[in-house]
Symmetry: C2
Subunit: 496 residues, 2 copies
């Protein structure tokens, strides 16, 4: 995958993908060549996610040409063990990945479903998992043309209608949308664009304003997270880039960098190494959970704290080699917590992954998230946002160019833009870099923001005994809101 | 245009078109061959509508394939003589026709614009007027594929964004959408789907639920209107169909019908005549204004009253010829008020009109309005809704089939479906047949229905000294709501 690791900007979108999407995480992990770390063990909710259903969907909802009237089979998982008359439907708006993994790993929904007698539905996003409109031929033009968030939302709308019209018990059911990350964006947009079908939405870690936020914001939160756990750490990291640059000026230096960082292959440039390290900082900030996890990689509790502790312990500004070794020990927490990797690849050499091509297409059409660093307040080297370079890479891969203004026009990009909406909760961890593009303040009485103090990306998607109070409070707020939406809907039925 | 006048169901959609759209009205009028009645004299607002502007629009907003990245020039009319900083934008969402005619004939906007220092914009709907994405080649597949309400709304959204970003005074302006009939549906949907851009909407005579309403409802209102002005009239009309049928059983009878109704050409069947007469009743109900007009045809004040008075005057159930002559005298009010027509055509023989093809395409894709009559409560012959026949005609003409479920999924079809929306006013005349598909009751505190007692289709679009109080009250309610929406928006700016 040529663009992978090549473009700073595209890369962040891929981080977004990789953290969200467990099967994508495998891809990242593949580059840790010697790592034999086991896959995440199956969740306790796996048995609920075993059976797939399929619905026939129009491939192009926005075009009535009979040649676009073709159908495809969209996968979804439905669990109706708790169903009674007017059961609420808890509808997960699938992200960029195999829906089963989201089903197994979104414990929050499973934990609360029995309390609400809810029917749980996980809908797979078109062009991911088993929902490929043109099978293996889905990712070439013009077959890939129907991969847009608007088409995905229309699929979800048809599916809701289908569920309500085929099960008499659900005819008048309220529907609550759930989603995390891109799935959270979709859950929010589903409520915004189809309030005729959706009574409310819980949007977790959903950076719906990443299109319009300051390009420095993402890395600024990464820096904030590192600083919070070790006030010295960002300064030392910032200091380290120049050392890497100095080594990178000669072949001998590049060769030394390869040895110091335990790389499998020679470096082509110091930039390669720097991009790789910067990604690791961002990834670590995203999975900075208060307990051990095995999500992107096997990690200790609070990995940022451990990483910073390793960096600062032996850091000696007057000794360049010590600086580099400190950084290596730091990132090694992310790379090799279990100590089984023998060397690392800074560049993925795996072939194109299906989900990855699809998501990259989405970042090359609708979802441009401008990213930059200033090198002063943040701990990174200064790098400007270069839309031309971004667009060029997109054109090279897909022969298409982003329409970066479209999501702002279609979905909005500020609190003003969503002030008329209701029945939405946006939850964000304040240490999650993606919170930079999230809704962090209440917009109105019925559109609330929940901040999870010390929370990273997606913290709170499943209960853990080490959950901080902030997570417990967030869950309670969400449960209360869901209850209100459901009751309001059921009351409105009585009025008829 | 072979389908014209052939299909009862399609026909009503065309009535919808013809009443809305003055240039379409010309088409209808063309069939009154000898009629030399002058065109409606130019409105007093004509000078505001002289200058067209153009915006380059993406032809396919929902597809990023570079081959669909083509642009077309969308026409709009902007009048900014009253502009000050934060002037509200009054945005007319153009219907199925040349935008200039809507600009010249929507006096309500022009009457209130100076009071609000409003910038007035009339946006032309793609595939109508001068906004033809592929010029004269627009109406053949695949060029016609991009004629959908979703694409039109996306055009309007881009235009609003363009206006706000190119005129510094309008950067933070509130935007109020206006529209009548199909334009009213678009105005409502624009607010519903893009509340990030639109602060409120006035939707006049907008049958947004015509998709899901009882198929008898339309003709039931026509009957109600006739009954209101003459309690006997519907019974006599209902009685007349059988007489026509009796005449229609022989060639001699058909020939007599031709003479009695002053037709230019021999009749092929009595059905031809009956469809034509039924259309005239519907059209007359729609333009049943309290003052003389020259809209579909030159008409007296309260034409339904005059028509019924002519029908009932000499009606003699025991004399078939007298029945037919009474009906002829009745419909002659609509056909020939000025007495200049020498004969009439029951079937249009004009070539396809651009707007007509486009609107028919829309009724064959998104906008299926089921129509039927029961022949008992209504004054028509019983006729069932036959979706298969409807779809067959669509397939014959466009090789495409309607997706009648889509508007219900996308826009909703009941008060439940719009209960979360706000800042909308739906106004309907209670004598307008299209009110059958309209929002006739308040849905919530911020989504109100205004009923214009004794109002027909679009009554109230321009002040007239003979306006009934109901129209004046409706206008005041609308002005008050617009003012509230604007003030709320401006207040929200101060909070930032």
């Amino acid at each position: 995958m040529r663009w992978f690791k090549k473009n700073f900007y595209l890369n962040f979108s891929i981080i977004f993908l990789s953290i969200l999407c467990l099967n994508e995480a495998l891809l990242l992990r593949k580059s840790f060549k010697a790592s034999k770390s086991p896959l995440k063990s199956k969740s306790k909710f796996s048995q609920n996610c075993r059976n797939s259903s399929f619905i026939s969907q129009i491939i192009d909802h926005f075009n009535f040409n009979p040649s676009n009237d073709r159908k495809y089979k969209q996968r979804y998982i439905i669990f109706d063990k708790y169903a009674i008359s007017n059961s609420p439907i808890f509808f997960y708006t699938g992200n960029e990945g195999d829906i089963q993994l989201f089903c197994e790993n979104t414990g929050f929904i499973w934990e609360i479903a029995p309390k609400f007698d809810a029917v749980v539905v996980f809908a797979e996003h078109r062009y991911y998992g088993s929902s490929l409109p043109f099978g293996n031929e889905s990712f070439v033009a013009p077959n890939i043309d129907f991969l847009t968030s608007e088409q995905a939302l229309a699929d979800y709308a048809y599916l809701v209608k289908h569920l309500k019209s085929t099960d008499q018990r659900l005819k008048n059911s309220p529907v609550v949308a759930f989603g995390g990350s891109y799935g959270g964006m979709l859950a929010a947009w589903f409520r915004m664009k189809y309030p005729n079908l959706i009574n409310g939405a819980i949007a977790a870690s959903a950076p719906i304003w990443q299109f319009s936020t300051n390009c420095e914001a993402f890395q600024s939160v990464v820096t904030f997270s590192f600083k919070k756990f070790d006030s010295e750490c960002p300064d030392l990291i910032r200091f380290s880039w120049d050392i890497i640059n100095q080594y990178g000026q000669s072949d001998k230096g590049l060769s030394e960098l390869k040895e110091i960082f335990g790389l499998c292959k020679p470096l082509k440039s110091s930039k390669q190494l720097k991009d790789w390290i910067a990604d690791i900082y961002g990834n670590t900030a995203m999975v900075n959970y208060p307990y051990e996890t095995n999500f992107l990689a096997p990690l200790p509790a609070w990995p940022v704290r451990v990483m910073c502790s390793n960096i600062t312990r032996y850091f000696n500004k007057s000794n360049p080699l010590s600086v580099l070794k400190s950084i290596y020990h730091g990132i090694n927490v992310f790379l090799n917590y279990t100590g089984t990797s023998s060397c690392f690849d800074v560049e993925s050499d795996t072939p194109s992954d299906i989900g990855m091509v699809a998501w990259t297409y989405q970042t090359c059409t609708e979802f441009v998230f401008p990213m930059c660093t200033n090198g002063i307040e943040d701990m990174f080297e200064k790098q400007d946002w270069d839309p031309l370079a971004y667009n060029r890479e997109c054109y090279d891969q897909f022969k298409t160019m982003p329409r970066e203004e479209w999501p702002l026009i279609n979905y909005g990009g500020s609190s003003h833009d969503i002030k008329y909406h209701s029945n939405l909760i946006f939850s964000n961890g304040n240490l999650d870099p993606w919170s930079a593009g999230g809704v962090l303040n209440d917009v109105n009485e019925k559109l609330k923001a929940v901040i999870i103090e010390n929370g990273a990306h997606h913290l709170g998607k499943e209960s853990n005994e080490k959950d901080p109070d902030s997570v417990l409070i967030a869950r309670l707020k969400e449960i209360e809101a869901i209850n209100t939406w459901i009751q309001d809907h059921l009351k409105s039925l009585l009025i008829d």
